[in-house]
Amino acid sequence: MSALTTLDVRAVEPVATAGGVYAWTFLLIAFPALGALVLLLGGRRTDRIGHVVGTLASLASFVVAALLFVDMLGRAAEDRAVNQPLFDWLPAAGLQVSVGLLLDPLSMAFVLLITGVGTLIHVYSIGYMQHDPRRRRFFGYLNLFVAAMLLLVLADDYLVLYVGWEGVGLASYLLIGFWQHKNSAAVAAKKAFVVNRVGDMGMTLAVMAMFAVFGTTAFSGVLGGADQVSEGWLTVIGLLLLLAACGKSAQFPLQSWLLDAMEGPTPVSALIHAATMVTAGVYLIVRSGAIYAGAPLAQTAVVVVGTITLVMGAIIGCAKDDIKRVLAGSTMSQIGYMVLAAGLGPAGYAFAIFHLLTHGFFKANLFLGAGSVMHAMDDEVDMRRYGGLRRYLPLTFLTFAAGYLAIIGVPPFAGFWSKDRIIEAAFADNLLVGTCALLGAGITAFYMTRLMLMTWFSERRWKPDVHAHESPLVMTLPLLALGLLSLVGGAAMLWTAGGIVEWLEPVVGEEEHALPFPVWVLTAATLVVIVAGVALAWMRYGREQVARTAPTRVSFATTAARRDLYGDAVNEVALMRPGQRLTGSLVYADSRGLDRAVNGVAALMGGSSGLLRRVQTGFVRSYALSMLGGTVLVVVALLSVRLS
């Protein structure tokens, strides 16, 4: 151990201490945290200004982020990482934890996404939650969510990151269960929390393992010293971090909470799926690149998990009729792409983050668009009761179409650039993984086209008393902004200012991948697969009429996909039932064994004391007699000792 703690711990990259505009780094977290504090402690007095305060707090954070970004762009690549130490948290001997913020190109990308998309979602929520009597509380939770996520990506220590990690879990619980009067929402919130706890356990153990091995939990110490630690330990830590990432990012086998999380208000879904929460796992893996570099086994596990999830999510998305659940399945699938890329090491880290950012744009766009549709359709979520909406919600349709083209990867929309890179990197790594990624793109095209056709085209299948109308400006403006980002965001990030790969290179490194065939072949193949998916969906849902109720006589595959590929059933059989049985037997042992022993001893004491107290007769003379008897006894005893 001592040999390890005296390692030559060098920083991952040259880190400057915060000065100039970087002294404002803490404001990024402070603004939304303050907003949450005011709104949640202020009570009803802040009801009327709640949405303004919440949105301004998020906007202020975004402005600071933009200023910092501009300054960072002007710096040379090697001194873009800035550290702002805040205070000593645990100054104990042997365990030094100090809270500090690390702003480098990687966290900068996240900060911009979180505050930017987060602010748009705040603005949208003003309209979406207008008639909700608890709107102020909603904005308080949103601010809490943003603040926790910012702490997560800005921390320079795994223990501090863990605080944000848990804060995100708490905020998601509060928001998923925001309409707590609905039993399903309360249950979904609980489920999300419990499943996340399983992942958090991995995080806890990983932090403990880091402390045991490295003697510190700071990024500089852990990531800088990773190359001097045995592969076994790195594999253990890597797998534990993967478990943690699976929980937050809804990766197989901890994916089941994400689909139920649709019970929350739609802006929450957008926030969880685009800007915060599910991206945390990808961030964790990319940030811990130095650990995975020395643990090929853990890296393979990451790739496998990502590949399984991307196919699973896509299949689930094909069978759902609930518009939000289709999008949730697609989130699972897209995050699967990111995790897959993150598992490829330096060859894929930049593309994982790239796809994460573009996904943030178009998924927020799609979710907010879905919210706008629900707003128009009296909160109907069943796509079989939509149809022909493009004439009634033209603005939403336009932006939704941009998001749709982006997610299926049509050039020049954002998703094309990022997804294509990931598929390339996957093929360079392994033919099977690459094929799965390619297949996933086709399935994505299929279910997203299905969603488009069922919602916007085809004939009206509305419920009788629905009057569809376009949403107010406060909701469509964020949609327009996100639609624009879905259109140009990918190309802009790839081609301006050296591009995202070069931007992230100082943090995550870069590695050329060698394809066994020319790149244009693969791009063409991807486009062919996408077109095939679109065509299949059109034949199935565009040419033929869509049934108003879901057909019941369907193939086994459809049934399985409708039931989330039996994820809940597996959890129930493998975990819940045995857990219940264990609890039952423990309760039995407790009530029959322990309780009886304890109660028996108590009864014995009670009974014997009940007998003994009969001695207290209340008659003075009998007390006197017993005193005399005692005295005589003592005297006799003394005498017998003396005489013998």
Binding site: V615, Q616, F619, R621, L625, L628
Partner: protein
Amino acid sequence: MGTTPYLVLSALLFTVGAVGVLLRRNAIVVFMCIELMLNAANLAFVTFARLHGGLDGQVIAFFVMVVAAAEVVVGLAVIVAIFRTRRSASVDDASLLRY
């Protein structure tokens, strides 16, 4: 003259006192029997002091007398108070403090 008669007298007095405490019901009589026992003990102390030619026994006898006087004050007051409320001085009647 030896000390034996004094000690015998002391023992007799103590026995009378003890038997009185155990057998009599009237609180006043019980009280007097207690005094009898105390004084029997005093007699023994003084006898032994005389036997050993020291003053220790004498001093302790004085202490006993003082404490007995104080005890009489408190004890009689208690007995009078009980008699006032219960119209009885029998020690067997005052047996409320029991299980």
